[in-house]
Symmetry: C2
Subunit: 395 residues, 2 copies
């Protein structure tokens, strides 16, 4: 593992110097290779799905499955990514410190990124393409449930390396066992960032096992507060969309806080208009991410009580208020300490694509580096260049 | 400790909503209180210095000592800080996602910052003032060698809280024992960032003991490469300044890489022009931060060999090239993976004040969040605000 990490590290230094045109060419080539190898990929995937039938939970099995349609979406993603600005090499500060002494701050790739995911083999390809565009090198660890598929994917990347000689060897390494993952997480200082993609349990176990910065979020406990003064029709629409449009998403609603004056009407209308939503009223439910149609409901006496509840029990992912009172909205937006704070709209908007980033690395609840939906910008850092003509420090 | 951290967390939410004018008023008041309490502070400090006489190494003893002059510098720092832009509340992105649905990204404080330092009690005041300006709450852990001084400083901050009622109680907590520090570092998720200020050993021990993001750098092993084609007079000036102007600084030169064609002249001129510098020629010296007048010297055959050496043995802090060849310079600036990459100037420029940031939190060699000299910007993150009129997600 040490040797592997060392090789990827060396490759990362070369990745950092790739031209935009080279990276875009490689993305094009990758799309071509995915089309060319579609049959192989789907066959390998069918073998995995067949082996896991009855072993894996239905949702995981669904995430494990590839299809021509999923590959088509991936291909379109690659061509969108090609069109995005190169996040590397941007000058974000330029100043003359002294006559002829120029300081520049310029964006650079982060370096070596570890990616750990479960099931979803399409996520492996997507994340690898984001690493490529941002000039990072990576080590990918997939689950053994996707073993055949991952070997086929690894083959595609080997073909990519042959087709694009400018890509440094070892820019993308694949490891597969659980022991590999455990060892990977020890390489603090050599692996610069870890991105886990999968269940909350996976993310939590990665976070607790490493000192490497982790980009992501474990829970998505998103509360929404319905204020005393609000447009009730609008609030109902927002609640139902936030909860029911895609209940297993991390940005789906989990806790409904209702001002006491609105409690009766909101609950009775919800029961009538969205009978599929199952209302739950108990303190144990305030820190639970259901991921299904259960919804915790709590009555509060004021916007301040709602804010306190959210800062205490929420997971600081995405939280909303439905109100017609501009002062209450301002207070809420200012005081809720979360990656996304929303007024009068669905929590389901928390997504890099919807934010217009054109690509999403993940959604972060971190308080440093990157917070909220993270696009390519989350995969770069910067360095300072200083150029002079023999300038020295006097005092 | 859990109770303390919880209280500081609550205070941090209020700190985030302070107005710029309130924060500036508190900085003014703090400067006043430092003047008013100068005698108490100096007496307390003299007691510490007297107790540590003969116990502490001379450099640490020097750092422990306060003086009217140091307090004067601190006071000036506070008034400079007051004039700096508020780093909180800046809109860094604004876009309309859909008709009437507005997304904004706005800078916010990080939250709760743990600060661990040795000796230098002035650093405690300086860091606390940076936390205040950036709307963060903090927990300060000083060394027991500065016990009397720290209690006097704590008293000053208690007076500040009385004078500025708008400051939330518990925005700044003081802890003092080694056990406190150890426990502090376990509060991953509640303490959002740790800033260690002190020796490399302190920084390293903090980094290895916590999962909280740490802002700083352990080593400052800064190499400088003298190219085949260079202005030798200029190179000598830069080398001597980088090494000898303040040898114990983290941005002082530690390794001199010389192109083989320049080796004889550089070494003989260095011996003549800067006899105080002690040249060392052994591979064991390549990863050592001397912090004194010793300088490791290595002959290399090319700019590429120099780049490889630096990426391998340097600490990615600040590295330089002296060259008259624009292509070599470009190659070096592009390929050296460090927080600061310099051409034809002293490594001693790596400093937040010299970069024009007006304040320095520290110098970071991290690959995420903040790299290089970090100003107030390193103490903020952002959140996304989304405001609509009942907008929901369709597909």
């Amino acid at each position: 593992m040490e040797e592997l990490v060392g090789k990827v590290k060396v490759a990362s230094l070369k990745m950092a110097t790739l031209a935009t045109s080279e990276k875009n060419l490689a993305l094009q080539k990758l799309a071509e290779l995915l089309r060319k190898n579609q049959k192989k990929l789907l066959e390998a995937n069918q073998a995995d799905v067949a082996e896991q039938q009855g072993q894996l939970a239905p949702t995981l099995l669904q995430r494990l499955g590839l299809s021509a349609a999923k590959l088509e979406v991936l291909g379109r993603g690659l061509s969108d990514l090609e069109k995005l600005d190169d996040p590397v090499g941007k000058v974000t500060l330029k100043r003359e410190l002294d006559s002829g002494l120029w300081l520049e701050r310029i964006t650079t790739p982060i370096g070596v990124i570890g990616v750990i995911f479960e099931s979803r083999p399409d996520a492996a390809i997507q994340i690898a393409s984001l690493l490529l565009k941002s000039g990072n090198a990576g080590i990918l660890k997939g689950g053994k449930e996707a073993g055949h598929t991952l070997r086929a994917i690894e083959q595609v990347f080997a073909e990519l390396a042959t087709a694009c000689r400018f890509l440094p060897q070892d820019w993308l390494a694949f490891v597969s066992t659980r022991e590999d993952a455990t060892r990977l997480l020890k390489f603090h200082g050599q692996i610069d960032l870890v991105i886990p993609r999968g269940s909350n349990q996976l993310v939590q176990s990665v976070m607790s096992a490493t000192k490497i910065p982790v980009l992501g979020h474990a829970d998505g406990i998103c509360p929404l507060y319905v204020d005393h003064n609000c447009n009730l029709d609008q609030a109902l629409t927002v609640i139902i969309n936030s909860k029911a449009q895609y209940p297993s998403a991390c940005n789906a609603l989990e806790t409904l806080l209702v001002h006491q004056t609105q409690q009766a009407s909101v609950v009775s209308r919800l029961k009538r208009e969205a009978p599929q939503i199952q209302l739950i009223d108990s303190p144990e439910s305030w820190s639970v991410e259901y991921g299904d149609l259960r919804l915790a409901v709590k009555t509060v006496a004021s916007v301040d009580e709602a804010i306190d509840h959210i800062n205490r029990y929420g997971s600081h992912h995405t939280d909303g208020i439905c109100s017609a009172n501009p002062l209450a909205i301002e207070r809420f937006l200012k005081q809720v300490d979360s990656a996304g704070v929303y007024a009068n709209c669905s929590t389901r908007f928390a997504d890099g694509f919807r934010y217009g980033f054109g690509a999403e690395v993940g959604i972060s609840t971190n308080k440093t580096h990157a917070r909220g939906p993270v696009g390519l910008e989350g995969l770069v850092i910067y360095k300072y260049l200083l150029q002079g003509a023999g300038h020295i420090v006097k005092v």
